[in-house]
């Protein structure tokens, strides 16, 4: 075994960074570091033994009568992209949540945020709309300006992608409801003041 094949991440004590002996791991309870006595709980899984550079193989050369990779015509196709249906070799196949994708589809999915597995950040437009509706009530005169803004935000938030976690649309519904109520309130006040002014 070469040095490169060894795991580059021996388990170190989080406090003194001393490599910990394996006997202390997977005990199911807290153990103490032999050097600094920090209490640690360590559980190792079989992947710790896997070498770091384990990756895809380069792919076999295509023989006559065999299907070839769309991106590497000299390589033998091993799978079909589940998105575009192109034949891909072992170098091009990307396994994502049980689906096989080619690099182009993966990039397209990342750019259009259609692949939720690749999303690393989301803006919660529904929370922004709800807080734009509710927080200005503390200084209520500014709701004259914020209510239409909140209504616009709530309407646009309906179609925008939200959290990838389980989440209902209750915030958008409440934002719509309260912003409409605020607009109605201001309209009623305006009509009342206008009538009073005329009389």
């Amino acid at each position: 075994m070469t040095t490169a094949e060894r795991s580059l991440f021996p388990v170190l004590c989080s406090s003194c960074h001393t490599p910990l002996p394996a006997a202390l791991c997977n005990s199911g309870e807290a153990i103490r570091c032999p050097h600094c006595s920090t209490q640690l709980q360590i559980e190792l899984f079989p992947a710790i033994l896997r070498p770091l550079h384990e990756g895809g193989t380069v792919g076999l050369q295509v023989a006559e009568g065999e299907a070839s990779c769309f991106y590497h015509p000299d390589k033998q196709a091993v799978k079909i992209c589940s998105s575009c249906g192109r034949f891909v070799c072992s170098l091009c196949e990307i396994d994502l949540a049980g689906r096989c994708l080619c690099p182009v589809c993966l990039e397209q999915g990342r750019q259009t945020e259609q692949l939720s597995e690749l999303v690393t950040k989301r803006t919660l437009h529904d929370s922004i709309a709800l807080n734009t509706t509710l927080l200005p009530i503390l200084i209520w005169p500014i709701t004259l300006i914020t209510a239409p803004i909140a209504l616009y935000l709530a309407l646009t938030a309906w179609r925008k992608p939200s959290s990838i976690l389980p989440r209902t649309r209750i915030r958008i519904i409440l934002a719509l409801l309260f912003s409409v109520l605020q607009i109605i309130g201001w309209a009623a006040l305006g009509i009342f003041l206008f009538q009073k002014w005329n009389s």
Partner: protein
């Protein structure tokens, strides 16, 4: 993208707070763990795939003990104040009781939740901090929950076999290769 991926079903494993304002949580998907940091307006996601998860490392912190001492002192002072008065139903005593109550609830909650810790997941790219796992009890529960899932994704190994192989690999002697994931 012609074919739509089916939505991933997540189940929350733990949640906590970070720097008093940021909320963080840990979710379990079909084949990965999802660590979420939320400001309330944005969410940041970190995925750790079960087939790549090398281990869990939790380091006990002193927060639990310090909180117990601080809250205990406040509760003890309030209790002494209440007990020293002659009239237990006087407005001052009742006010002191109301002041003491949140601290007492905090102390009891802290005691029930158990020791605090800082948790990291070992991945091929290094350590990933999981701020949602701030209590040792939650870490133990997570490990118990992960064991069968890890066995499915990485293959099962006996504890002695795994640790012997790991020790051999660490010291540089010959080793048995890790079992390939079960398809």
């Amino acid at each position: 993208m012609s074919s739509q991926a089916k939505p991933i079903r997540y189940r929350r494993l733990a949640r906590g707070t970070m720097a008093m304002i940021m909320r963080c949580s840990l979710w379990l998907g079909d084949d990965h763990l999802l660590s979420v940091k939320s400001t309330g307006y944005t969410e940041d996601y970190v995925r750790i795939y079960l087939k790549d998860l090398k281990g869990v490392v939790a380091q006990r912190t002193k927060t639990w003990m310090l909180l117990n001492i601080l809250l205990g002192i406040v509760v003890a002072l309030c209790s002494i104040g209440i007990l020293k008065t002659n009239d237990i139903f006087s407005p001052g005593t009742i006010a002191l009781g109301f002041i003491c109550l949140p601290f007492l609830v905090g102390l009891l909650l802290n005691l029930v939740k158990g020791p605090t810790c800082k948790t990291n997941l070992l991945t091929p790219l290094g350590l990933v901090d999981i701020p949602a796992l701030q209590r040792s009890r939650k870490v133990t529960r997570l490990i118990q929950e992960l064991r069968p899932l890890i066995a499915t994704h990485q293959g099962s190994m006996l504890r002695s076999e795994l640790l012997a192989s790991y020790d051999n690999q660490r010291t540089g002697s010959s080793t048995t290769p890790a079992p390939s994931p079960i398809p």
